[in-house]
């Protein structure tokens, strides 16, 4: 028996992922699609001797491409030759959904419509005659409630039946105005005899896509050296008006289909309107958002704390066992500092990352996150960022790693890269121990203010960075804010749980390896040549520190500080531990630092500024590489961070020296 390949598509917020989970349970993994950075989830369902392979495509309103997500959906639909296209349609909002339907019908791929949220539609007095709808479209329509898995069995049966029937596809056709139709035929005939079309795309469908303004298809054809009849002679204004004719024809078709199969009573003020008026209020909106986020933030780090503590205890236990065993000290060091230390660094991030994803998923499901983005848009816009960037920023104060992963909700690549670029300047909680140590030694009277200054400095550098890159690299405005506000819904625990598990596992798989590798490298630097004391002046790290020290001399750093910065690359709190080793014991670190005459308060402050701004830690770097999908941008982010850290530290040193008079 063959597998049945299904592409699951639909508008955003229609319950696509819920249906996907209902179809495939936890048998999911990320499909590999070359050249794209957005993940496509693939799942399996066994039925009889057959397997349904379901691809969960990113939500899209149409086959035209404006965002990376939509690009993925469009490419999969046009070029991957699925057996079936399964469109999930929101029964409470059928008209808008039908626009995409009219495009999918033309692909000539067997199609099924899953009419979701039929229960809500009933409640709202929307009566849908699904048989009439099916007749009108000449497509199988199955009523489902994805949340309670009602009708999902029937949906699976219909899929299998449709495949077994092997009927030729004869979907309802969109009626275009006469002039449009004749051009479609002209282009279609030409393409049929001249062009090599991607996938199983028919020449007629390709012609319609071109008339509608599919730039990617047009480019593919131009790359083949073809001159598209009629269209290539049109000026941009004519092209736009043709695209509009096609658009209007689609809406007319959608309306006709609606008219005969849907009866609804609407127009009353809905509770959602009232909620919207409160939570997006001009004055209350931002305080409501901030308190929501503060709560989520607190919850993340307090809920993660016991897990992190448990992990620490378990690793301490391993540590003891190995310390107690009789073995070569070098191997022991490798096991304790390298292996256990490495796995420990990976795992210590896990609890907070899982909880962040759980909370984000819940907030997203309720429909609140979209409103929050709207509330923050104006402020963020003035900094050259998109409203949605605010959520990653806030998370960045906890840990940059999940924050960088959260930039996935941004649609334009430019907005995403600028956000990722500025995120490492949000002072994450790992930097706090370093601040506490140095401000305690050098600024005991004003320690609190100095720490506050560092947080503010991070934000200022982030804003300046965003402005610079928006002005000179990604020219133009942040992509205009147009966003659907999904209906308020009760979040589902299972869906959030699956989402959390999936995202957390991805993190472990991709970032885990980088972090682990990074820890091993630092261990090796601190341990070689064989026989030296771990992290001492004679070790490779020590030599490297002394070698690099002249470079940092303008900032006033001694070689110990330089080595600590190298170690800080693993995780910024490691700076404290490694200084402890270098100054002969963490217990006496306070007094040794105070006694070191090469250090002044101004140098200490410059060092803290450097710790704030330089390299993201290895974990953050791992996810930056993963999320930008580009080594070039990863290198730029590292280089830019080092450059900014150096310059700002230098300025800080001189201003602080001037003020303190040393």
């Amino acid at each position: 028996m063959n597998d049945i390949r299904i592409l699951l598509t639909g508008n955003p917020n229609v319950g696509k992922t819920t249906l996907f989970n209902a179809l495939c349970g936890v048998h999911q993994h990320t499909g590999n699609y070359p050249g794209v950075t957005v993940d496509i989830k693939e799942g399996k369902r066994h039925i009889g001797g057959q397997s349904l392979i379901v691809c969960d495509l990113p939500g899209t309103y149409s086959l035209s491409v404006f965002t990376p997500d939509e690009q993925v959906a469009r490419d999969a639909l046009l070029t991957s030759n699925p057996d079936i296209v399964l469109q999930i349609v929101d029964a409470t909002n059928i008209e808008r959904n039908l626009f995409l339907t009219t495009q999918l019908l033309e692909l000539g791929i067997p199609m099924i419509i899953a009419l979701n949220m039929c229960d809500l539609a009933d409640e709202q007095g929307i009566k849908i005659d699904s048989e009439c709808l099916a007749r009108n479209l000449n497509v199988t329509v199955v009523r489902i409630v994805a949340r309670s898995e009602e009708g999902v069995g029937e949906l699976v049966d219909s899929i299998v039946k449709l495949i077994e029937e092997k009927k030729p596809v004869s979907h309802r056709e969109v009626l275009y105005p006469g002039s449009v139709t004749s051009h479609i035929n002209e282009i279609g005939n030409y393409l049929g005899s001249h062009a090599k079309l991607p996938g199983n795309l028919s020449s007629n469908c390709a012609a319609i896509r071109l008339m509608e303004g599919d730039e990617h298809l047009e480019k593919t054809l131009h790359d083949q050296g073809l001159v598209i009849p009629f269209l290539d002679k049109c000026d941009p204004a004519e092209r736009d008006s043709i695209a509009e004719d096609v658009l209007l024809a689609r809406y007319r078709t959608a309306e006709e289909i609606m008219a005969c199969s849907v009866k609804c009573t609407m127009g009353r003020v809905m509770p959602a309107d009232l909620i919207d008026q409160v939570i997006t209020h001009r004055y209350f909106g931002i305080p409501i958002f901030l308190s929501c986020m503060w709560f989520a933030f607190q919850l993340t780090f307090s809920a993660a704390a016991p897990f992190a503590a448990a992990i620490e205890i378990i690793f301490g236990y391993f540590n003891e066992i190995i310390t107690g065993m009789d073995m070569d000290p070098f191997i022991r060091s490798f096991l304790i500092e390298g292996i256990i230390g490495g796995v420990g660094s990976v795992l210590s991030f896990v609890p907070s990352i899982f909880i962040v994803f759980l909370l984000l998923s819940i907030l997203e499901d309720t429909g609140y996150l979209a409103r929050a983005a709207f509330v923050m848009d104006r402020l963020m816009h003035s900094m050259g960022l998109h409203g949605r960037s605010f959520i990653p920023f806030l998370m960045g104060f906890g840990c940059n790693v999940p924050a960088i992963m959260a930039t996935r909700t941004l649609q334009s690549r430019a907005d995403r890269i600028i956000t990722i670029l500025t995120l490492p300047f949000m002072s994450c909680s790992a930097r706090l121990p370093v601040y506490v140590l140095f401000t305690g030694v050098f600024f005991s009277a004003i320690a609190g203010s100095v720490i506050f200054f560092l947080y503010v400095l991070g934000i200022v550098v982030a804003i300046v960075t965003a402005l610079i890159f928006r002005r000179y690299v990604f020219k133009g405005e942040p992509s205009p804010f147009i966003m659907e506000l999904p209906p308020y819904r009760r979040p589902s625990g299972t869906a959030a749980g699956i989402h959390m598990w999936y995202k957390g596992r991805e993190y472990l798989k991709r970032a885990g390896l980088v972090i682990f590798g990074g820890v091993l490298v630092v261990w090796a630097l601190a341990s070689f040549p064989v026989g030296v004391e771990y992290g001492s002046a004679e070790s490779l790290a020590g030599s490297l520190g002394q070698l690099l020290q002249p470079l940092f001399a303008p900032l006033g750093f001694n070689w110990q500080l330089v080595v600590a910065l190298i170690f800080g690359f693993v995780a910024k709190e490691v700076v404290v531990g490694s200084l402890g080793t270098l100054y002969g014991g963490e217990d006496t670190l306070h007094s040794s630092l105070a006694a070191d005459h090469t250090l002044t308060p101004a140098i200490a402050l410059a060092f803290l500024v450097f710790v704030l701004l330089y390299l993201p830690c290895v974990a953050a770097l791992g996810v930056i590489r993963q999320e930008t999908g580009s080594i070039k941008w990863t290198v730029i982010i590292v280089g830019y961070g080092l450059f900014v850290a150096y310059v700002v530290s230098f300025i800080t040193l001189h201003i602080a020296s001037f003020i303190t008079g040393v």
């Binding site: 309103y61 035209s64 509330v375 804010f481 147009i482 209906p487």
Partner: protein, 74 residues
């Protein structure tokens, strides 16, 4: 005809035309904001709006709201 950004909360308006072309205009079109669509204004913060079309709600930033030209229905 006035830009959507000049209408007030609670008003019902009908779209008369979409000023400009390009991606924003197309995005609006694919969301169902086309000539003839009736919108209700739910909220307005300065030049940003939340509008409702049937059962769908959309948030439009100043750039997008300025492109939609509407007539007041009541």
């Amino acid at each position: 005809m006035v830009p959507l950004s000049l209408s007030s909360p609670g008003e019902k308006v009908v779209v008369r035309s979409i000023g400009g072309t390009g991606h924003i205009a197309k995005t609006l079109g694919h969301l169902g904001i086309i000539t003839g669509t009736e919108l209700r204004i739910i909220r307005k913060n300065k030049d940003s709006l939340i509008v409702r079309i049937g059962e769908s709600r959309y948030a439009l930033g100043p750039g997008a709201a300025g492109m939609v030209l509407v007539d007041l229905l009541g």
